[in-house]
């Protein structure tokens, strides 16, 4: 079925078909429940509950369906997790569809890291739709890594919605490595003084994959800060739309916003589109956006190959030279190494 998804906050000319994306999604009818594993050494610092809800859920992606589960996690006041809490979903031939919602509330002055992963025991087409909502209360810190690498045939939708209160900070590391149709929507409301968010995003697009990213941060109060950084590579017939918006609302004096995308194009069969918007109704702010792209620098390649590296190895190194600035932001070393392995396999 055809769906029109991921509408941008402000419309522009229709010629480039970037205001939204029209995709064919084959959503399996529900068959079997997926297994969830939650690994955490400090369960006493969290309140966890699972709802089974049947009501229609919407997100800014614009797709409506019934949820399977809603996972509610509360990080208790003043508690700090020493190790990350890992949430893992399993797909099998029968459990091939997942509509899940992970809802995290960080209470005042808490500190926690979550890792959301998927394990697939099947090469069949899988449909996954993650809705990830977070509320970060005063002085709290919430760090979430999402690894999306189910399989080449899967359709993967991720909708993230954040509300960030006074002096609170939320970070997402989003590794978008595999899948056919990949639609991600990221939306953050910086609600109070000194609220801050950051998004570190790596994508790899190959074969016939379609990647549509639609990111938005609203800055509402003084001294808000946002950083949305994306690095990606595209090869084969991959199509990518990068849409990112920083909206400086009136009243967000002394705020800072930065959005950035750099994409490395490895074939001349790819299509790379970008729409980095800056909207501003406040005088005393500083905002910047920058999108750049190009192919692998031949001089760099030559230099590396003159030191004995194969073209493949050299290219790999150049790709990592781009990704490293983001990979270094992954605080969990184990996960970082895992991601590096996954990326190496992909390229």
């Amino acid at each position: 079925m055809k769906y029109i998804l991921n509408e941008t906050p402000v419309k522009t000319t229709n010629g480039f078909m970037i205001n939204n994306i029209s995709v064919d999604l084959d959503i399996p009818t529900f068959y079997k429940l997926n297994i969830i594993n939650i690994n955490c050494n400090e369960m006493d610092k969290l309140d966890i509950s699972i709802d089974k809800v049947n009501k229609i859920e919407t997100s800014r992606i614009g797709l409506e369906d019934t949820l399977d589960y809603r996972l509610n996690i509360k990080v208790k006041k003043y508690e700090e997790l020493n190790d990350p809490c890992i949430i893992e979903y399993h797909f099998t031939n029968e459990a091939n569809k997942l509509f899940n919602n992970i809802n995290i509330v960080s209470e005042e002055s808490s500190k926690a890291k979550f890792i959301i992963k998927y394990v697939s025991e099947t090469e069949n087409r899988i449909f996954n739709y993650l809705k990830q909502t977070n509320v970060v209360n005063k002085n709290a810190l919430l760090d979430i890594s999402i690894i999306s690498n189910i399989n080449e045939e899967s359709d993967n939708l991720v909708a993230i919605e954040n509300i960030v209160e006074e002096s609170a900070f939320i970070n997402h590391n989003f590794y978008d490595l595999k899948g056919k149709t990949r639609i991600s929507n990221y939306y953050t409301e910086l609600k109070d003084i000194s609220s801050e968010n950051s998004l570190n995003n790596i994508y790899i697009g190959k074969s016939n994959s379609i990647i549509d990213m639609n990111y938005l941060t609203n800055l509402n109060k003084p001294k808000n800060t946002t950083n949305m950084i994306t690095y990606g590579i595209l090869k084969d017939n991959a199509i990518k739309n990068y849409k990112s918006t920083i909206d400086f609302k009136s009243g967000c004096a002394k705020s800072n916003g930065k959005e950035f995308e750099n994409v490395l194009l490895l074939d001349d069969t790819v299509v790379s589109k970008s729409l980095p918007m800056l909207l501003c109704t406040e005088e005393d702010v500083s905002g910047s956006h920058s999108v750049s792209s190009g192919k692998v620098d031949n001089n760099q390649l030559f230099y590396l190959m003159s030191r004995g590296l194969s073209k493949k190895e050299a290219t790999k190194l150049i790709i990592f030279s781009k990704f490293n600035s983001l990979l270094n932001k992954e605080t969990n070393e184990e996960l970082r190494n895992e991601i590096i392995d996954l990326i190496e396999k992909e390229i």
Binding site: K11, T12, T13, L265, D268, S274, M277, L278, T281, V291
Partner: protein, 464 residues
């Protein structure tokens, strides 16, 4: 502000003149279209285009993005107004009241000092067109569009509607149905003009529309600088300007197209500009947008030949009640093509500036290069400044970067200037002028002065 900046008399743009009109057309209908065509004694093929466009106008919808246009009721607009004069070759023959207006705008004086030719349009018709003898001898054609249709039908047929087609959007259809006036320029092969030609468009009547068509062909190896000026006195009624500019830069040719737009703040400026550039050709756009209530203007450059280049330099300044939605479009359609964009905007007193761009690098545009830069300055928090660029790359062999920044005047810079005795307002004005300077210096000297004058004029409301 009072001491530093020359006292500007805004009234030079605001002269209102009672002019007697021979003919008037109101709204848009087959009758109006036929009236225009008849008045101009046009050949049938031109009327056919008009009627086709009329049909399209009725079919097409307003764009579903950008500024609100529903305020416009085309049936209340005087769409064709013919002043009581013929086109003249000498300013002495132009009726006194009309000549007065252009005198005050400094057009005849500029013609004497620094221009190779001047065209002047008053409402719907050209009232003056003249080309220096020296340039005429080189085979350059510079005339009003009606004359061009009559005297150079083959040339006009070859290019007219070929860059901007009738169905591009609703308001270009409106343009083709009602077009009147404008300029036609042909620069023959290898003729290089080092002094510019200028057309000045003045919309004098209240509640009126101007739909001039400008067509420029710069043939192989030729060079031309063209300046377009526009202004209108302020009224309460809505005016509309739906002009069209078609440019053809042939192989190895060069065209610099400068616009200083100072429409009154009751103007809807829905202008369409397009340029085809062939091998080794270069188009330079220089745009200063100061006036109008709403502007939607995104000149398109199609780089169709190898090594074709586009340079786009623009500044817009939106004050109270203004919504200036401007930018550019570019299509890279051949090897080694390049685009350089420098755009600046200033918003104050609730004004809205939007930079909108479309950059499309097609698969065959190997080794092309695009560098786009936008800077926005906000002078207060009632105003708005948006940057909405769309980029589409279909080849890997492209060097592409787009950067934009948004911000206010630095407090530290203000303090530094004030510590040298400048008042806060003067310090701000100096910094704003410094911000605009890289753009204003792209204009020919006389126009840079005019632009600074406009910037000062715009600043006076808030600063000083």
């Amino acid at each position: 502000m009072k001491t530093r900046i020359d006292n500007v008399n805004e009234n030079i743009y605001n002269i209102k003149t009672e002019t007697r009109y021979l003919k008037k057309g109101i709204g848009i209908s087959e009758d109006v279209v036929k009236l225009i065509s008849k008045e101009k004694e046009e050949p049938g093929w031109v009327l056919d285009i008009r009627l086709k466009a009329l049909k399209l106008f009725n079919e097409l919808n307003n764009p579903d993005w950008g500024p609100e246009l529903t305020e416009l009721d085309i049936n209340k607009i005087a769409t064709y107004i013919k002043p009581e004069t013929k086109k003249q070759m000498s300013w002495d023959d132009v009726p006194e009241d009309i000549k007065n207006v252009f005198d005050k705008l400094g057009i005849p004086e500029a013609e004497k000092e620094s221009l190779a030719g001047v065209g002047a349009q008053y409402d719907s018709e050209a009232v003056y067109h003249n080309l220096s003898e020296k340039v005429e001898k080189l085979g350059v054609i510079y005339t009003d569009f009606d004359t061009a249709i009559k005297e150079y039908p083959e040339l006009v047929k070859k290019y007219f509607t070929k860059a901007v087609t009738l169905n591009d959007h609703k308001y270009i259809a409106l343009h083709y149905a009602l077009f009147s006036g404008g300029s036609f320029i042909y620069v023959p092969k290898n003729v290089k003009l080092d002094i510019p030609l200028q057309s000045y468009f003045r919309l004098n009547a209240p509640g009126a529309g101007q739909f001039e068509h400008t067509l420029i062909v710069v043939d192989e190896g030729a060079e031309l600088q063209f300046i377009e000026g526009c202004s209108a006195p302020g009224y309460n009624e809505l005016n509309i300007h739906a002009g069209c500019v078609e440019l053809f830069v042939e192989e190895n040719a060069y065209l610099r197209f400068s616009t200083i737009e100072n429409w009154s703040k009751n103007m809807l400026n829905l202008n369409t500009k397009k340029c085809f550039v062939k091998k080794n050709g270069k188009i330079e756009w220089i745009m200063g947008s100061f006036g109008s209530k709403v502007s939607m203007l995104y000149p398109l450059s199609v780089l169709n030949g190898e090594n074709a280049k586009c340079e786009f330099t623009a500044i817009s300044f939106a004050g109270k009640g203004q919504n200036l939605d401007t930018g550019l479009k570019v299509i890279h359609n051949a090897k080694n093509t390049s685009t350089v964009v420098n755009s600046k905007s200033i918003s104050k007193d609730g004004g809205i500036c939007t930079f909108r761009s479309n950059a499309w690098v097609k698969k065959n545009a190997k080794n092309s290069k695009l560098v786009l830069n936008c800077e926005s300055l906000m002078l207060d928090s009632e105003s708005r400044s948006d940057t909405i660029p769309v980029n589409r790359l279909e080849t890997d062999e492209v060097t592409f970067s787009h950067e934009a920044t948004i911000g206010k005047i630095s407090d530290k810079a203000i303090f530094y200037l004030m510590s040298r005795g400048l008042s806060e307002d003067e310090a701000k004005a100096l910094i704003v002028r410094g911000f605009a300077e890289p753009i204003s210096k792209s204009f020919p000297v006389e126009y840079a002065v005019e632009m600074n004058r406009l910037i000062n004029l715009e600043l006076e409301g808030t600063i000083g």
